[in-house]
Symmetry: C2
């Protein structure tokens, strides 16, 4: 790691200081309220005119991520910078990191933004992934399909999220159509994985190298979008330990500071995991921690990026978190009326289909 | 109750709407973050240039409470108004209530602002208070002391808080000096109460008349300022029921909407309570609810003033909340390093002696 990765020299952060956050969505919003509880101010940098996070931040900069003058003013106005999304452009990160500590650093961004780099990095650590091949053109695709077999999933190398930028190639499908569907963008072909469960590890690494993971959580998707996260995940303890150890190895290899999320498939009769994706940030599958754990992922992330000690990841009971997607947010009155249900409404004006509008968490306490 | 008490006609509040809050201190700040979790925007009205609540609010108005033009603009910009302090001037309340629903209403403000009105109101409900006499001049004071005996406590009728505006008159003291110490202001003499404990009931009443109380909490003061709140309070169940019933009678008589706090003395060998003070707002002795109860007092208050259902008041374990007063806030690094301790730093710049700078909550879960 070089200084360019982690940003300008770090001076101790104290309450009253300002955390800069790139991105103004619900993750930035929940990070900002967690920071406020700790006495910190937040400053949101986001191109959107009416991002949900502005409502709970001390300051906002509405500008494009390539507006270097705006980035420099932002960097000089804050004490540390973090982000709520992994697609922070490399140039944006480096402009900021020259002036202010950027946490997590640039290396994890570069790794997480490119599915080939990500999978190669994980595989190089001796951790399993789905079999994969880079696909830059039609010839590559044919060769990759030959090697991995159908069904397989073709994904854009960059900028995919919530099932966007991916297409399944079944035994009878024409690979050419699939590639065309992705606009011919540089892609990765991933072999089919017969998994029994999808889990994720939400973990944090402190500036001092301390590591703290929450228990693995079980994720269920609908239409490529996370629908439900629950704990306990119902996997053997040994597998949970293995999953957490893999996340730790990844965080350490990235010299990571902050909350990191590692999505995994459970395979081989609940005896092994394959890493599916790394998100260098707080994550939807960690929203349960707000009420379900002693320290929320948002507070944990703020603690880490400020160079403070990590908090307890102890779970408070059996937990489920259900996303409210699109017009599902219309159920908010029923959720408010349900004893013990915790409504989180992100304050977004338009409930477009597929848009994450809120979530609800239910905790059944340990007896 | 007349419409003038509760404000302009109420229309249903929905996420995306704006809650106006009078006062920008830590109570407003914690109310604002609770409102944000429910998808609401907040607008803080406060005369201070740098009030802590601004940092987590969508909008602010910095103006005096008697600036009627500013109040009218504020009222038109929000969907409901509430407040974080009981000394909202009557004129401020009435200017606002003409334009927008004011919750809780004006009647409870008038009652809580005047110690004579407050105690008379409570006594008229058949609920015990310390014996008291109004003191408007020297003659009154002599007569009152004659009736109640020494020691007794002379308090200003209005604007007292955190032990300010009160002086103890012991058997040998000159009553004249005590009254002079209060600047000769209209006062109340309260007879000595031999209490074993101080408790408070934090409760909420919904717009539909629903009522929900947290369990009584035990309060310990130092130098007139709340030092520690803990639960369980260690009082008999029958007394807890009696205390909650008294708070309910008070809330109903005020046609109250929102969170109300009733401070009480435990007397007669833990068999009875006397009401000491009513605060028409969220309260320092309710901060434990953020982590210690299923719904925080701040969310509960927001639910009530929005006309939404009240949340569960279930307690999560044994709880203690300790205030960080003045330079005690300097212990924040140790609190962050303590597993399971929840730091709340209010983001105030100057740690003046006696100033509430933050608090820490510890919860030992039920086994």
């Amino acid at each position: 790691m070089t200084e360019a990765d982690t940003g300008a020299p770090f001076r101790p952060i104290r309450p009253g200081d300002t955390v800069g956050i790139l991105g103004g969505g619900q993750l930035g919003r929940m990070m900002a309220t967690a920071a406020a509880a700790l006495g910190l101010k937040t400053h949101i940098f986001c191109p959107d005119e009416d991002a949900p996070a502005y409502d709970v931040a001390a300051a906002r900069t509405i500008a494009a991520y390539d507006d270097e003058a705006a980035l420099e003013r932002f960097a000089r106005a804050v004490d540390v910078v973090t982000y709520e999304f992994e697609n922070v452009p490399g140039r944006t990160a480096s402009v900021l990191a020259r002036l202010v500590p950027l946490r997590p650093g640039a290396l994890c961004l570069a790794t997480a933004q490119d599915r080939i780099a990500e999978k190669s990095f994980v595989a190089d650590l001796g951790i399993g992934t789905a079999p994969f091949r880079a696909v830059d053109g039609e010839a590559d695709l044919a060769e990759a399909l030959e090697a991995l077999g159908a069904p397989a999933i073709l994904k854009t190398r960059r900028f995919g999220y919530d099932g966007k930028g991916q297409v399944r190639i079944g035994p009878g499908d024409r690979p050419k159509d699939a590639h065309a569907e992705l606009g011919g963008a540089p892609a990765i072909l991933e072999g089919f994985v017969a998994f029994s469960k999808e889990i994720s590890i939400i973990a944090a690494r402190g500036a001092d190298g301390a590591f703290a993971a929450y228990e693995p959580c079980l994720n269920e998707h609908r239409g490529g979008i996370l629908h439900r996260t629950s704990l306990p995940a119902g996997i053997p303890d040994a597998l949970a330990d293995k999953a957490i150890a893999a996340a730790r190895r990844i965080a350490e290899a990235l010299d990571y500071v902050g909350v990191i999320t590692v999505e995994m498939f459970v395979v081989d009769g609940d005896e092994d995991i394959l890493v599916n994706e790394i998100a260098p940030r707080v994550h939807n599958s960690g929203h349960w921690t707000i009420e379900g754990a002693e320290t929320s992922q948002f507070e944990q992330h703020i603690r880490a990026v400020c160079g403070w000690p990590l908090g307890s990841t102890r779970r408070r009971g059996e937990v489920e978190m259900i996303n409210l997607i699109g017009d599902e947010i219309g159920t908010w009155p029923a959720i408010l009326a349900e004893p013990g249900a915790h409504l989180h409404h992100y304050g977004k004006a338009n409930a477009r289909p597929g848009r994450k509008m809120g979530h609800v968490t239910r905790v059944v306490p340990h007896r």
